[in-house]
Amino acid sequence: MTYALYILLFPLFAGSLVGIFGKPLRALPSQLLTTLGVAISFILSAILFYQFIFLNHAPINQVLYSWAVADQLHLNIGFMIDRLSVMMALVVTFVSLLVHIYSFGYMYDDPSKQRFFSYISLFTFMMLALIFANNFLLLFFGWEGVGLMSYLLIGFWFQKDSANAASMKAFLVNRIADFLFLVGIAGVFAYTHSLEFSQAFIAAPSLAQTSITLFGHPASVLTVLCLLIFCGAMGKSAQMPLHVWLPESMEGPTPISALIHAATMVTAGIYLVARLSPMYQLSPTALSVVMIIGATSALFMGILGLVQTDIKRVVAYSTLSQLGYMMAGAGASAYAASIFHLFTHACFKALLFLAAGSVIIALHHEQDMRKMGGLARKLPITYITFLCGALALIALPPTSGFYSKDSIIDAVQQLNAVGSSYTYWCLTLGVFITALYTFRCFFLVFHTPTRVDDPAHVHETSSTMWIPLIILAIPSLALGYLLFKPLIIDSPSWFGNSIVANHAALQTAAAMALDSLSHLPFWLMLAGVFTAWLCYVRFPKLPTWFATRLSLIYIVLVDKYGFDRLNDFVFVKGTRKLSQFFFAIVDVKVIDEGAVHGSGKLIAYLSQWARKLQSGYLYQYVLVMILGLLVLLFWQI
């Protein structure tokens, strides 16, 4: 218990200390302090992990501090420490630690290092609060906290207009999602009179039976609540159609993209669904929605990755696609597989981002792939590690991505629910797309003839940057093999009772790897890699040819299916029109002139009157007192 508290407190203290006293502390001590804080957190998480997984420590669900009590509403700060949260915490602190170390190099020439390190430490704290929460309140606190930190970090280079716009977009999109999430939380409280997860789980079966009428249709309360909460998850995990902020968020520094927009924060939505799996499991409708939205994101966001030219955006779209896989897995009740993919994805996607960052730094903040190429020789470590990440991403057996992703696909394949066949095909095709865009990026950056402006000055980045890459490359390759058995096959698995277990595939890891040769996804993946080689290495003119021939599709893709255009047209312009109406009529006429100025004038008038009472003459004061007394007397007798 105390461990968990310290896991949270170290990043909090280090982050706040550096945030407040950053200037007098100077850069290097600040960096060391925050890194140390996260390192301690990581070690404690590891201890906790050992205790829970290997020593079978019983789950802890405990209220630490009762923040405020109002009638039935208990606002508590409480921790739920079980196998799921412990594993999640380990992953978060692990990636966060590596990103801290990596940022030493990446932010080397940035003037406001203290601010950066303070933010990422505080982010880690918020994320851990989210993970350890045992009630919706603390969860929401962490949820908003990571959102805030994400906002601040996307706009870290606030001198850039695009960064400001991107941070604003991320914030607004998440507000919409969080609003619905909050409505969901309020609904949970309204029906269960508690904000505790455990109470919600107990009440879930009866809520599934209760039905309310919504827009004229009867609906199960549980389904409505699950869907509302899922809206929050959609925002945070960038599922269609609330995904638009994630690609833009690449305006932030690359370590942030690795930490927040790949490994940790964006997976909070998946974590949420898994955490609340006892609720979702009882609502087939909600599960189907989750699955279909996940599958759609997985395929269509992947396709967009094909036309991006910015290296970070390719990885960002790949993140969207992978999040779709996880969400689809969760929707298929394969929570274990979904979280498994979350872990492996955290490693290999962080690796890809950090490797991409390494490339970007080596090329002096150049992100356009059209100005790269032939970097394999120049950046050998980055090259190898990027390749590891790419192989894991395309799910080549026996890399980690293979085990987790195929578990999801297997689970979906065996499922018989509304939308499960659609999901299966989306996910399977997604494998091809994944391989295609990943290796397109890989070839364009590392293999094709160099298009770098000044190739002579390109050299491998500093050790603080490539050491994390190597550290991440190992789990990217091996984690799947190690975790497949304990997480997916074993019963009980490492998750214990923390999520609803649903066993789909029951093979050993090695057998699974061999078996994959006879499966469709494996061949699709190879086909994807081959196509990429064909298009970008063997016949570099091919993509242009396709682009001109299939210009319509190309335009649609470059336009990102027109989501931004639609948003711009409907929401931005529409809102502007609406707000102008409200401003001109409601605000100026009714509120300003009527309510605000009117009541203001009234109060000012009353205020003048009250001032007159205060004449300063003693006998008048006494008279007022006596009159007051007499009024009270005559009123009461």
């Binding site: 006998y619 008279l623 007499l630 007397l633 005559f634 007798i637």
Partner: protein
């Protein structure tokens, strides 16, 4: 007691009327000294009432302390300050008007209290004399049962003294007295300082004329 002249009652009403009248005059008289004298009268009347209720000790103390000491002091103070009769102007009349209104209303309240009790007022005679004298009774309960309020009252008086001194103490008048020990302890070198210096010529270029005594 049949047909007996109700002496007690008459005396009571006489002193009660005197008390009320003199209390009125305290606030109505236009010269402060007169007000103070009426207050003395009011004290006398209430002392008489207390004695009638067999609280002789309190009645006498009231006369001794308030009339004999407090009011005398008060009169001295009032008379040392230049005082003049307060003129009756418009505001004062206005407030007299308000005052009489308040008075009437309060009388109404009093009537409301007294009305259900009117038969009790006349039971004055039924008071039983305590077996011990009033002073003894007061002293006993003051030092036993009421020791806590008694102590607080003691401190209250101390605070009153301190507050009065603190407010009237003028710091700059403090040093009228001679500091004897300082006079005795003074050394010659404290009084006279001999400074050795070279002889100097008056500066020739000085624009100011050199002064000679």
């Amino acid at each position: 007691m049949l047909n007996a002249f109700p002496t007690t009652l008459v005396v009571f009403y006489a002193f009660a009327a005197l008390l009320i009248a003199s209390a009125f005059m305290v606030i109505l008289s236009r010269h402060p000294v007169q007000s103070a004298l009426y207050l003395v009268l009011a004290f006398f009347a209430s002392a008489a009432l207390w004695i009638m209720m067999q609280a002789e000790f309190l009645g006498l103390i009231l006369i001794l302390v308030y009339v004999g000491a407090v009011m005398t002091l008060f009169l001295f103070v009032v008379m040392t300050i230049p005082m003049h009769t307060i003129p009756i102007d418009k505001t004062r009349l206005l407030y007299i008007g308000y005052g009489s209104l308040v008075l009437v209303l309060f009388l109404g309240v009093m009537a409301k209290i007294i009305h259900p009790l009117n038969h009790i007022v006349f039971q004055l005679n039924n008071f039983q004399a305590p077996g011990i004298s009033g002073a003894t009774a007061i002293g006993e309960s003051l030092y036993t049962t009421y020791v806590f309020p008694f102590e607080i009252a003691g401190f209250l008086l101390l605070v009153a003294i301190i507050a009065a001194i603190s407010l009237s103490w003028k710091t700059d008048r403090r040093k009228i007295i001679n500091d004897v020990s300082a006079q005795v302890n003074v050394k010659a070198k404290d009084r006279l300082k001999i400074v050795k210096m070279k002889a100097e010529k008056p500066q020739q270029d000085s624009t100011e004329p050199v002064q000679h005594d």
